[in-house]
Symmetry: C2
Amino acid sequence: MTAGHGGHPQDPVAIVGAGLAGTLLAILLAERGLRVEVYERRADPRTGPAGEGRSVNLGVSARGIRALRRIGLWTSLSDLTVPMRGRVVHRPGGARLFQPYGRDPQEILHSIRRNELNARLVERAAAHPGIGLFFGARCVGLDPDQGLLSVTEAGLTRRVRASFVVGADGAFSTVRRLVQHGRPVDYRQEFLAWGYKELTIPPGAGGRSRVPPQALNLWPARQGLIVAHPNVDASHTATLFLPHRGEPGFTTLAGNETVTAFFTERFPGFAAIVPDLTEQYASRPVGHLVTVGTSAWHHRDRVVLVGDAAHAVYPFYGQGMNSSLEDCLVLDECLDRHPRDRAAAFADYQRRRKPHTDVLAALSAENFAELRDGTRSPLRLARSRIDHALHRLFPAAWAPLHTMVSHTTLPYGEALRRARHQDRMLRWAGATAVTAALTAAAVRGARKPPC
Amino acid sequence: MTAGHGGHPQDPVAIVGAGLAGTLLAILLAERGLRVEVYERRADPRTGPAGEGRSVNLGVSARGIRALRRIGLWTSLSDLTVPMRGRVVHRPGGARLFQPYGRDPQEILHSIRRNELNARLVERAAAHPGIGLFFGARCVGLDPDQGLLSVTEAGLTRRVRASFVVGADGAFSTVRRLVQHGRPVDYRQEFLAWGYKELTIPPGAGGRSRVPPQALNLWPARQGLIVAHPNVDASHTATLFLPHRGEPGFTTLAGNETVTAFFTERFPGFAAIVPDLTEQYASRPVGHLVTVGTSAWHHRDRVVLVGDAAHAVYPFYGQGMNSSLEDCLVLDECLDRHPRDRAAAFADYQRRRKPHTDVLAALSAENFAELRDGTRSPLRLARSRIDHALHRLFPAAWAPLHTMVSHTTLPYGEALRRARHQDRMLRWAGATAVTAALTAAAVRGARKPPC
């Protein structure tokens, strides 16, 4: 339980945060033969309640699957996951529109409760002889030049000398803050004007799902949105997205009558599937949504950031967790590439990874705008149909952006580059078609006999 | 020396930072009948050395003059200021090009040492019976909801209960950091890839200035820039701007021979006017340049930010100090406007002020690009001449952007709006001229006899 006190190579790696990225990275590093200690301020997810205020449901897609396969955990999670084959859009009149994620049966998402995935990762890490896990242990200080961590546990603060420190402590990372303090680091954090609240759709009669089960259910509305992930027990975890301010917004929407009237007007049919809706609304906290960017993904060879600590994004592309797990793989590859120079490995990791998570941050913000405005415009819908048709015809050469982001492990920036190239080709094809039509019209015109 | 201990209206206002904005605001608030306490972590500028690593020279322009006049201090500063009537650009060959700031004798800047201006402001504040000044007193904690400040002075920490707290503690504001902690605040800090180093051009023979005295002297170079402000003792304070990294950059440029060769190549003639150049270069620290933006200029009615704490900008428009002093006037006006609702006054202050300092931040970054690229392009120079000519013809209706920024107190955003309008008019005039020329050519063409 004690840590070394010299700057020796046998000092353990100290990971701050036993969330999804922290535990995955612990396992990857331990597999490299490193001794790893993980410090987590919250309780052990194997015994404790779900994480405070974090989104409790996730959609695992290709990148997350690849990372979980890498440690041989993916297939053993099948008892916790529910496939989502597409999205079901609930129209105000009660109509349901099903939009499959793809034609390929592989092109699906897998709904899982964050806490359950986290518990399995912790379980796997705890079973590794090279990993020590410390819960209820808060990082309160860091000397980034020395890799010296201060950790408070049960009221006592001790120092941990680490060969290097990993900040896997989320969007409001303490490690990041302590590394940045007094150093010339570019940093930005941007909160969305909308927040979220988790609501539960319980199973219906006979333990059956009250909404289509193998799908992401979506209730778009004017200035509001509900998204629901299926759970293995036939319940669904719904997330209500609303502006914080304005009428109605989370800061003003309160009182059972007002809340009932709000749901009846904005989300007709939703109250019917959540019997205790007003109680749930009153008791659940409102979460904030933040994008975080920093120029300091690492400090020399002593500190490195992964996951939300390095690049928190809005959740609207469903890639927060997937990209965080992918970070760990990229970092692991970079350690391979520079076996004797950890500073170079960390710098390489930032160079290879940051441009792509920057793209993800932008795409996630754009996707919010699309979701906020409810259903897609006819133009975008037509474009989406063309994209999917071309994808069916030329699966290797053509893919819609969301397919490349969710169902491949193509780096995000590369996915965007290809999508833009496809856009240009379609515009050119469109211009050619228009030109052809105009030429044809002109030819027809020319054939007309002169007055 | 003690502070109140209840949440009473007679609790003092606590200002963190006795820099330019902090002291000016202290005087303005004390003049409103408020009791003010100012806590400054550094030593008293009346007795201590110049501020650590801050730019020691300033150019006071219209906004700063207006603010200093407001407390009746401006005219008494004449023994400390040197007028700058324009800029002198030193060409590599030794030629000097003088560019006046304006034709109007009012359109000049006033060079002053930061520390001397600060000392006069502190002197004035100290003389006010409503103001208590505490030097060597560091803000280490803040409860923004309660207006409860923790201050460490000579190793002892005490709590100060304030009616409200002002963060006037600069670009790396502790008050701002403590207000933001755990709150959904949009924030960004962005460091320039270039840093700076202060160098002193001593007076020449007979106590005369070694470069044109009543001007800002400027040595543009490839990937480098020196700007020098005149002092009352005929010395000049020069600021060398260079990239941190790269060849040469501050991180690599070292050693007397290398430094001498560098100045000889990039800034010919400069070494001749600074006899101890290599010693100065080796002993002076390198400063960082940062832009800071935050969405939380205030917290309810308890905390408010002014100056660099609210909006640090790059120094390339010479408006950092001027805008900080102007902040205090705007805040003072907003307190007038909402005499019974301080939260409304603070919100109004942010609403009226932030859009303009955002514009200033953008203009300051743009001006860096122009200065970095050395002299102006022929197109910009021509444009500048047209601007000045129109300003002479229609002084009330037309003014170059830099004139509006430096020599008027027009809000920055309004200055930019007018400059863009002027741009559109010139483009329209240009298009009209081209159209006229083409029409004339067509008419000439039409006159030609057929074949």
